[in-house]
């Protein structure tokens, strides 16, 4: 069976989101800061009247975020609107450096996430694509739970 995914880049790392969880790919618009929110949360974005919480992909997946981005790089940034579609679970937008494209691979090409890798619980599979090592993120895990409320 074919597995579809949206491949994106975070600095020199490549990751992918299962396509059935990706609702839309958005350009970076104005983000309103959300005070006292977890550090990974950039803020809220107004997407046609819907308030989408935007999470910084670099912080979320522990990719080094120190370097300052050039204007050219900023233009490349996209927001991956992901959703489990289940009642009671929020949608989020993941801010990524750039989108490489949509990829369909055979299920057999998916490998396990290397054991002992830092943050391994955030991913559910890995694969080699054009000699690039791509990690497939686990969106269920990302969105599960209602958090601590307020």
């Amino acid at each position: 069976m074919n597995v579809g995914m949206v491949v994106f880049g975070l600095k020199d790392k490549y990751m992918a989101a299962p396509i059935e969880y990706v609702k839309e790919i958005l350009k970076l618009d104005k983000i309103t800061r959300l005070p006292n929110a977890p550090v990974i949360v950039k803020g809220l974005m107004n997407v046609r009247g819907i308030l989408l919480p935007v999470v910084d992909g670099r912080k979320l997946f522990n990719v080094d975020e120190d370097e300052e981005l050039t204007e050219e790089q900023k233009k490349q940034m996209r927001i991956l609107w992901v959703s489990t579609g289940r009642e009671g679970e929020e949608d989020i937008g993941i801010l990524v450096d750039h989108i490489l494209g949509i990829l369909f691979v055979d299920e057999e090409e998916l490998k396990e996430v290397p054991e002992g890798m830092e943050g391994a619980e955030k991913f559910k599979a890995s694969l080699l694509w054009n000699d690039k090592f791509v990690l497939m993120i686990d969106i269920d895990n990302l969105l599960r739970g209602r958090g601590d409320g307020r």
Partner: protein
Amino acid sequence: MSEIDINEYLPVFIDEAREYLQILNDKLLILEEHPGDLDAIREIFRAAHTLKGMSATMGFSHMAEVTHLMESALQPFRDKDGAVLPEELIDLLFRVLDYLQAQVDNLANGDEVEPPEEELLNALKEAASGKVPTGTTSAPEKKEEKKEEPATESIKFELNDYDLLVVEDAVKAGNVVAKIHVRMREGTMMKSVRAYMVVKTIEDHAGEVVKSVPPAEDIEQEKFDRDIFFLAIFPQGTNVEEIKKKIESIAEIESVEVEVIQNVDVLKQSEAKPAEEKKEEKTAESVAQPQQAAAKEEKKDKAKEEHKEKHQIEQLIRVPLSKLDKLMNLVGELVIYRTELQVAKEKNSQEALEGVIERIGRSIIELQNEVMSMRMTPMAFVFRRFPRMVRDLAKRFGKKVEFIIEGEETEIDRSILDKLGDPLVHLLRNAIDHGIETPEERIAKGKPEEGHLWLRAYAEGNYVFIEVEDDGRGIDPEKVKQKAIEKGLISPEEAETLTKREIYELLFRPGFSTAEKVTDVSGRGVGLDVVKAVIEQLGGSIEIQSELGKGTKFILRLPLTLAIITALLVTVGDEVYAIPLGSVDEVVEKDERMKKTQVGEVFILRGDVLPVYYLKDIFKVPTAGEGQHLVVVRSAGSRAAIVIDDLIGQQEIVIKPLKGKYVGVPYISGATILGDGTIALITDLTQLLMGGRE
């Protein structure tokens, strides 16, 4: 059994089950007053019957069994004029209701149905067999018998307890119960049609198919080979041979066997055996590979847990079809306007554009009103559970209370309604526990023996009022003052100057409780302060009116809807925040009335000392200025001044709640989108003022 996806139907089941449980509740309360009310008995009977059917369809056999027994227990009373339900039976039925209620709640929480307590089940079984329940009963002996009888392998019916009960009853009532084994010819075409004809024949003879193997769904889809078993109940005196002949005459039927069942145990037997076999198999497996089996179990548990986590039951609201049609029409209009807009743009006509915009505006207002009205739910939704609670509490405290509900048809936003339950429970409990006197006390005071408790709702303007009123002892202002002084809430000098209204306000202070003795119902430390906090969080207010010796009235004022509020928009640096206008007292200039003290800054407003908070500190705004204005806010009885940079003005805003693991942050209850697309965060000051200064 057939594999219907029950999850799909679960919300509907829960919704409807609650409705029937409510009927049971209401009618039982009536029966308690008038144990001979035949209409109520019949109504309960019908509700139990429907519940039984629903539960059985959904595969909740425990619920089906209990409701079935309930039906049987009521049977003798239903047909007799002048029958009076014994009190013990009513109490038992109340317990059954509690059980059913708990199961429906379990289901709503994504849990499983639990079996009833053995004792309750036994009491019910006794009642069903015509004995008045006594409370302690011995377990029925039938269960043991079944192991001793030899196994028959004639039919592989896997009957559950519920099926057996139905059969048992039918046999007892003298009906003819028959097992019908139909075998079709090899290569029969349209087997389902033949099967249907068999069922039709049974039904033509006033028979009822209780069960079929394979189940009806599989038969419809022709998921069977050649044999079908039916278990059917026919009226007394039915000639089974005649039915057999009729079935045999159907085309393509090879053979028909009919066995009349006189003894239910025969059926029980065939059920018991396969189950035992299965068990043995399982043991063998677990001995051979104990670890693997354990691992399997674990996995299963885990899967179950995960399933549970995801399984959140959605809330349902019933909407009349006419309202949906109206919505559809409005949406249709909007679609047309979009085309008109396109045309106006192409023509570049200012006039046409203005016309369309105006029409769109009108449609949107109408759309807004329609959608709002759908969210409105009658108070009855919450009120209806109170009569039972009041009855139980009154019994417990030895009070006599007549409970009067008025205006339960008043509508309010569903999201507000959902939060009203607890505060109202608290106020009603208070009234019964502290307000209404014991019958002796009332007689001594020359009042009627029975106390009155009113729960009233009515709409006025944009608000809904709810009143909880009793004709009990009333609140003694002197006692309240004393208590407040004792607790150190006020000084004796302050006490002198307080008005009656201000004294009642003291009751809402945290840590205040006038209960002289602590009962487990009221006076648990959670008091009126919590009630007040909830009401204020909903944008409402609460007030007390009381007259010593005559009674007390709590008046709750609530907004009709939560989704839209008026708010004061302010800026701090380049960020915009919305403060709900309901909690804003006034806006003042930042001037020399601001004073620095050891405990931080304060603002002296007409003699009152208000603590000062900087919004830029609370929300860590990086770009903020020094602040020019202060917004005086009030919540849960305390006030504070909040420093902001600038005022934008007041505006109606649509609240979008912010909840969850990424956006649930302190002091923010939601956000809204302003006309220019900017996002403004809505501050939650109740939280701020209750939490105090950090």
